[in-house]
Every structure is written in structure tokens, then in C-alpha cells.
């Protein structure tokens, strides 16, 4: 069962990455039938106020906005308060050399 769920998950990830994203697939100059469907989608964009839309989408990386800001950085909203808690620190203790080495070694093995 575990294997099955994991294989399904992997299919999902592949789908997430490659499945959608129609608009990004290359269209050579020769094939022209693509145009119409993309026009539909841009119709709703006309309605919304420009400034507003831009501001929100830049945070969310909305795939339908083709003019999203080009930025590789993930705005990682780490919860600062959380990381001051001991519990949270314990959860990654073994990722440090000060932690339990045998546990860390096992971690490596299981995943391979």
C-alpha cells in the first residue's frame, strides 16, 4: 500500500510540474490553432484593476499571469515565533552535528 500511495504521489508531482502549464508549451510559428483558447483566458484579466492584480499575483505566482515578476527567491514565511520554541528546535536537532549521529545516518539509509 505504501508503495502504491508513493507512486501515486509521484504521479501527482509530475502532473503538478508538467501536467498543466498549457500556455507555456512551445508553439512553433507554423501551428496557428493555439491562439483562440489563450485569448479567452486573458479576457478576465481585462476586468480586474491592474495595480491591484499585480500586487497580489506577485506574491502568489499565479500561473495565469504571464507577466509575473521574474524572481527566483522564495519568500519563505518562516514563523519566527515558532523557531524560538524548544519543540521546533528539537525537530531539527538531528540535522546538526550536535545532534544524534546514528539517527541522522539512518535517515540517509532509509531514503536511499
Amino acid at each position: 500500500l505504501l508503495q502504491r500511495t508513493s507512486s501515486r504521489q509521484s504521479a501527482n508531482l509530475m502532473q503538478l510540474v508538467y501536467g498543466i502549464a498549457k500556455s507555456k508549451s512551445p508553439t512553433s510559428v507554423g501551428s496557428k490553432q493555439q491562439g483562440s483558447s489563450e485569448d479567452d483566458e486573458s479576457d478576465d484579466e481585462i476586468i480586474r484593476p491592474k495595480g491591484e492584480g499585480r500586487k497580489k499575483s506577485s506574491e502568489l505566482l499565479d500561473p495565469s499571469d504571464v507577466n509575473v515578476e521574474d524572481c527566483s527567491k522564495l519568500k519563505n514565511k518562516a514563523d519566527t515565533e515558532n523557531w524560538k520554541e524548544n519543540e521546533m528546535l528539537q525537530s531539527i536537532r538531528d540535522r546538526f552535528i550536535t545532534g544524534d549521529w546514528s539517527k541522522a545516518a539512518r535517515r540517509g539509509h532509509v531514503s536511499e
Binding site: S6, L13, K24, C71, R95, G99, R107
Partner: protein, 350 residues
């Protein structure tokens, strides 16, 4: 003149990736609808500057932009590289914006590249500058790949053995840096004693034109991984697109909070358990895909949206599809791909 077959794309998104992949795969691209519905349509100054940069380091590349700037034709040339380049990046984006694609591009150049990037925001950092006026300058030297990259199996993220960092400040008191470092150390020292954060306070002509400060933190692991985060705080530029709403000048975030936030962000990245941090996932995938036709296997944490975009563009330009498999026990993701076998064409011709 033969007819050119352009790959058609839309919008300004991922322009850097597109130009880079277009050049490396010798695929001309035609981008339409660049902010065509915006109040200020067309390409932005930093995007034009990026195109000029590509023109500078490449031979025979052709850039055409229409009158409104909403349509862009790019016909890639040969990456030449060389020394003594100077490029003015403008101030609408940081130098990092230009560095990211340039590094990969330069690897595939005919000659090693040395370039001085000016006016952006803070390799060898000659001077640092913060927005809105910038004034930073960096010198970048990139060697070339002689024949090809080498495929890797890189799935051991190791254990964090030390944390290093640099804080910087321009046109503010160096106390800002001490406050950031103090609060960041406060969090790290409960996990690890080996934490050193250096200061880089700039004065005089090296300090750029606007006040600002920031910090970058790197965790090094026993298996040689570098997990990093960084941030810079300054009075940002009001975007040309005209967000006129921001009435009063916002106060900068207090440095103590910046230190804590970045420490937390680094721990978050460490927790993800990849061999690179989420910002550099895309770069890693790109390099894997540019390898010779061997299998590369890498482990990353949760895929970042930019990394996903990168994967899609890699597929479109290089025809490389990754096998993506989650690893439930560690909550990481393993990616495997066969390199596209892109050679350093520029060198071969010479």
C-alpha cells in the same frame, strides 16, 4: 537569409530563464503580450538592461523590440565571454537579477568571463548600494566549462556543521549589524556553537547612495552542501507601474527582527532537507539538465514555484523531463534526469 523559426512565448515572466535557455539551446524566441494590458506596458528598464548584457557577452545575437515594448524577438548568438566588460545594470532590480543567468551563460562561453556590474545593489563586492539609488558594484569572474559538465548523484544533505554569515550596512550605523547578528545568534546558538557572522560596514565611496542593511546566512553541512538565505532592507523603489497608494514613507524593519527572521528562515530551509535551499533549486535543475547524457539524481525540499517554472522551461527548451519522486520518510523530493548533452558549442567552433 533563411527563415527563422521562433519559439512563441507570452508575457514578461521568467525572461531570464527564457533568454538563457534560448541561448544555450540556440532557439530563437518571440515573446508577445509583455504587460500589454498594463498602464505602463512593455519591457522594464532592467529587462532591457538584461538584453543588453546578453548582447554584450554574445556574438551575433539579435534583439528586436517593437515600439510599445510589448513584443520582443531574440535570436541567440554565440557566447563569447572575455575580460574587461562593464555593464550598467540600472537600479530597478538588484545585481543578483543579472548574476543568476549570467553565471550559467558564462560557463558555456568561449573565453572565461570577467565583468564589472555597476549600479545595482550588492564575488568580489567592490561597493554595496541599497535601493532606491543603488551604487553598488561587483566584479564577477566565471571560468568556462571545457567540454561538458559532469552528472551528479547528490542526495546526501548531511548534517549542519557550521553556520557562517555576513551582515552589511550602508549609510546607517554599524549598530544595525550588531543588532541583527546578536538576535540571529540567539536562535542558532541553541543548536550549534560554530556560528560566525562577519560584518561588512561600508563607508565613503564604497557605501552606495542610499541607506540600507541586510544579512546573508549560510549553513554548511558535513556532505558539503550549502544552505543559504539572505535579505536586504531598504527604502524600496516605488515601482514604475505606479503604486501611488503608499503615502507615508514606511519605517524600516528593526534590525533585531531581521536577524531573527533570517535565522528562522535558515532553520526552515535546513528542515526542508534538500541539498540546496529553495532559492537555488532551479539553478541545480538547470545544471543537471545541461549535463552530458548521463543520469543526475538530486534531493531537494519542497519544490519552489520558481523551480517548477524552471523545470517546465527546461522541458520546453532542452527537451529534458525530470522523474520526480517524493521521499515520504524524509519529506523530500528526489529528481532524476538525463542530461541534454549541451556542449560548450562556443568553444568547439573556435
Amino acid at each position: 537569409m533563411g527563415k527563422t523559426n521562433y519559439m512563441r512565448l507570452k508575457g514578461s515572466q521568467n525572461l531570464r530563464l527564457r533568454l538563457l535557455l534560448s541561448t544555450l539551446s540556440s532557439t530563437p524566441i518571440l515573446i508577445e503580450d509583455i504587460r500589454h494590458e498594463d498602464t505602463w506596458p512593455g519591457v522594464r528598464p532592467h529587462e532591457v538592461s538584461l538584453l543588453r548584457l546578453f548582447e554584450k557577452v554574445c556574438d551575433d545575437c539579435v534583439v528586436e523590440i517593437n515600439e510599445t515594448g510589448t513584443k520582443l524577438k531574440y535570436k541567440p548568438g554565440i557566447v563569447v565571454g572575455g575580460k574587461h566588460f562593464v555593464h550598467d545594470c540600472g537600479v530597478s532590480r538588484s545585481i543578483g537579477f543579472f548574476l543568476e543567468p549570467l553565471i550559467v551563460l558564462a560557463l558555456f562561453g568561449k573565453k572565461p568571463l570577467t565583468i564589472r556590474l555597476k549600479e545595482g545593489l550588492g564575488l568580489k563586492i567592490e561597493s554595496r548600494g541599497a535601493p532606491p539609488l543603488g551604487g553598488g558594484e561587483v566584479v564577477l569572474t566565471v571560468p568556462t566549462v571545457h567540454n561538458s559538465l559532469t552528472a551528479v548523484t547528490w542526495i546526501d544533505e548531511g548534517m549542519v556543521k557550521r553556520i557562517r554569515g555576513v551582515s552589511f550596512s550602508t549609510r546607517v550605523s554599524s549598530q544595525f549589524e550588531h543588532a541583527m547578528i546578536y538576535s540571529a545568534r540567539g536562535i542558532f546558538n541553541r543548536l550549534l556553537p560554530d556560528v560566525h557572522i562577519f560584518t561588512d560596514h561600508r563607508a565613503g565611496p564604497q557605501t552606495g547612495k542610499s541607506p540600507g542593511f541586510g544579512i546573508s546566512l549560510v549553513a554548511e553541512t558535513t556532505s558539503g552542501c550549502f544552505i543559504s538565505v539572505d535579505t536586504a532592507v531598504s527604502h524600496g523603489r516605488e515601482e514604475e507601474t505606479g503604486d501611488l497608494g503608499d503615502d507615508e514613507k514606511k519605517e524600516l524593519i528593526p534590525p533585531e527582527d531581521v536577524g531573527e527572521q533570517m535565522a528562522a528562515a535558515l532553520l526552515e530551509e535546513i528542515k526542508q532537507g534538500g541539498v540546496v535551499d529553495s532559492t537555488h533549486q532551479g539553478l541545480l535543475f538547470l545544471l543537471c539538465a545541461l549535463c552530458p547524457p548521463d543520469i543526475s539524481k538530486v534531493r531537494v525540499g519542497k519544490l519552489s514555484p520558481y523551480a517548477i517554472e524552471t523545470l517546465r522551461h527546461i522541458r520546453d527548451f532542452l527537451g529534458v523531463t525530470f522523474a520526480i519522486k517524493p521521499d515520504p520518510t524524509t519529506e523530500t523530493v528526489i529528481l532524476k534526469c538525463m542530461g541534454s548533452g549541451v556542449k560548450n558549442l562556443s568553444r568547439k567552433i573556435s
